[in-house]
Amino acid sequence: MRHTILSFISGFKVVIMRKLELLLPVGMFSILVFFGIWHVIDPDRTSSEMENRTLTTFSRDFSVDKIVDGSRLREFETYYTDQFVLRDTWMKGYKQLQLSSGKPFVENYHASPGGWIVSIPVKKIPEELMMPKVKALQLFSENLETEGIEFSFWSLPAKASYIRTPVPSYMSEDQGIANNNSFLSLMEENGVKPIKLYEKMTEDFPIDNPREWFFQTDHHWNMNGAFKAYQTIINTYNLKFGNAGDPLSQDEVSSECLSNREFAGSWNKQLYMLVQDHHDQICYLEPQNPSFDEQFTIYKGEMRKENIIERSEIFATGIKEEEEPISFAKAYSFDYGELHFINKAPKTDQRVLMIKDSYLNPIQYHMASHFAETTIVDLRYFGEYSLLNYIKKNDFDHVMMLYNDRNFDDEIYILD
């Protein structure tokens, strides 16, 4: 009897061993089939918040040409990988693995204890690569002068230039400030008078550490830094170009912060929000009487009646969406090709064009509150119009160009 039982148990173990062996092939194919079914059932996502881009969705274009030349297969491959099941989760897992393995830079960013994310140092840009942009600015400035329009170029401090620690000690020095200095020197040599805002800001508001002015996990300045920049810009504008009124003081604005909303910094999004020990939060410094909501008529696009919008349609759109976490763009503003602000309570009758990048977004309304009419243009989304013709047609009094000091994109220097 005992022998029979032992034989039975031994045989049972052999059966179990054989079944266990099959765990691997069955497991692998089950995973593949499961992913396939989930992929079919799951609706396509149109965009990726983390990658900040639109995702390829399924196309029903099965034309013979596309199949024969292989483009259909390539499109399907892009579609499949863009819509892969739990894509963000896989990406996040990979980034976590990279961070845990002690890699000093993940996606070109160094995440240090304390929540600061620092970008990889940039190299020196040869002056010959800068010259086309300088020449474009020179020509632009001369054209505006011919039209009797004032022009000013404002170099805004980029976080990546001024927050350079901590990075591993073996890294070479970042050349962002050196590049900016070279670029501004070349501009001066070619008749364009740039204004390096950081120098003015530190004169007006001496600080021990520029970190107070920048987000830890994003490439922008925070509201504190942006507001100081606004005050410095207006003070400097008044000195150089005429009275645009005093900037709003700290006492004239009330502070409100979204303490219950996690901030999705642009660099943290590259790391799939894995940096959690930061203290970033979205804050607003706005006047109450009148508030910016009441002060402006806003046009999105050309100044036509049908283009009039409410401020809430383009400002802080992420608040009403109530989604977590909130990005810089959704907290302040996205970049738009063309916006017009007609001021009901201006401090000067000047009509100003501001050509800008995203650094101006938190203080667009602060800036616009001084001028009778402010047009804000982002050349990356401006369309195919000739900027010069646009300026002549609108007959501005002053054109301000405000870019962060690391912005050397080619498209923002197409100025004809």
Binding site: M17, L23, R53
Partner: protein
């Protein structure tokens, strides 16, 4: 085409006719390969030599053509040599030539290896398990090791001027040495594993070549199917080891130059092949006797140095770059020994380098044997635990591979709209 050639060779009664059909088959196959892969090379060189200006439309290169052309030729030649029976079933022959696991990256499967398996094969749980394991091993080698090493190698080989320091050059060639091994052997493992899932037993294509103690041994362990193909279909017909010394060396140099040329349509590949031909000839001549007397680690260092220098020619786009790179390796033409990129490469990838170096040696089979020996006298429960742990480990690797593959499609647009 090769189906008909096989039939023609088999049907021919006279030896002369059989030979003629084989000759035509080889010319036809090499003609197709030559047109798709080597036409541009020949025309460019003809134009340079004769100062002509011949142009042809861009010829797309069919993927894997070098592999399946050699495979198809081997079938016709084996039928001629009576090493294999002719395959009268067109579908079965098509299956052999176009079998997807090894179609585009080998191993080059000889018809005689799988002739019986085409009609008679079976798949049991052992095949399923072993095939799956082998497939995941191959995919792991490719995705977890070869791809990261490839990124390092590509980054270094893109460098120019002061950035290419001696240390970076060594890191780059080490990364490439590991990339090409794990990439190629990974594909072979996947092919063997997938073949097993369908009941096919393909032969091994790599046997830890970086553990070799001579270059001759290296080529008996690296891309074994290609080496065997050239040995059986080029070296032996040329005379092989028969004949006087100079004939043997001539045969070796021809075979190795052709081997290099098979890899790519450029002079650098031919030079790479000739480089090995010369070294193998030297080993045959006297070097092997010297090597046998050397301390074993020195033999390994000798092989690795020769192979890594060879990879510089293999990877470089032209001779000038290859020479420059080798000079940098030995600090002949460099400004700096190291720079910040050196630290970045090391700190970012140290664990991949270490794992790759360990796995490039026969550590895994050693470990497997040790565990097997230990378990032989143990209870069945331990066997079960081993199998369960093994399956879970492979599944974990599969999940890890998926994570790496999904991340490879990461394509952020940081500044869009803000």
């Amino acid at each position: 085409m090769n189906y008909l050639f096989g039939l023609a060779v088999d049907f021919s009664k006279k030896r002369g006719s059989k030979k003629a059909w084989v000759f035509i088959a080889v010319i036809a196959n090499l003609g197709i390969l030559g047109f798709y892969k080597y036409a541009d090379f020949f025309i460019d060189n003809l134009n340079a030599l004769m100062n002509w200006n011949i142009t042809i439309a861009q010829v797309p290169l069919p993927i894997g053509i070098s592999f399946y052309t050699f495979q198809a030729m081997s079938y016709v030649i084996d039928v001629y040599r009576k090493d294999a029976n002719v395959q009268r079933n067109f579908i079965n022959l098509s299956l052999y030539i176009s079998l997807f696991p090894q179609l585009i990256a080998g191993p080059i499967v000889r018809y005689q290896t799988v002739a019986d398996q085409i009609n008679k094969r079976f798949v049991n749980s052992t095949y399923l398990v072993d095939g799956t394991k082998r497939f995941i091993q191959g995919l792991s080698k490719k995705v977890l090791i070869a791809n990261p090493m490839g990124e390092v190698a590509d980054s270094v080989f893109r460098m120019s001027g002061g950035d290419l320091t001696t240390a970076n050059a060594w890191i780059g060639i080490l990364a490439y040495t590991l990339q090409i091994y794990f990439d190629f052997s990974g594909y072979s493992d996947m092919a063997i594993g997938l073949g097993k899932l369908f009941g096919f037993d393909f032969e091994e294509n790599f046997r830890y070549p970086y553990a070799s103690q001579s270059i001759s041994e290296f080529w008996r362990r690296w891309h074994i199917s290609l080496g065997n193909w050239f040995r059986d279909y080029v070296y032996f017909p040329l005379g092989g080891n028969r004949g006087d010394t100079w004939t043997i060396y001539r045969n070796l140099l021809i075979v190795w130059t052709l081997t290099g040329f098979w890899h790519g349509a450029s002079w650098t590949f031919m030079a790479w092949g000739l480089y090995y031909g010369i070294i193998i000839s030297l080993e045959k001549f006297f070097l092997l006797n010297i090597l046998k007397r050397l301390w074993r680690p020195l033999r390994h260092i000798y092989v690795l140095l020769i192979v890594m220098i060879g990879w510089v020619f293999f990877r470089a786009n032209d001779f000038a770059y290859a020479i420059d790179y080798i000079q940098t390796l030995f600090t002949i033409s460099t400004y700096n020994i190291y720079n910040e990129k050196t630290f970045l490469y090391l700190f970012n990838n140290w664990y991949v380098f270490i794992i790759a170096i360990i796995l490039a040696m026969p550590t895994y089979p050693l470990l497997k044997n040790k565990i097997q020996t230990f378990l032989e006298d143990q209870r069945k429960e331990l066997w079960m635990a081993r199998d369960l742990l093994s399956s879970l480990t492979y599944l974990m690797f599969f999940i890890l591979i998926t994570m790496y593959l999904v991340n490879a499609t990461y394509n952020p647009f940081i500044y869009f709209r803000f």
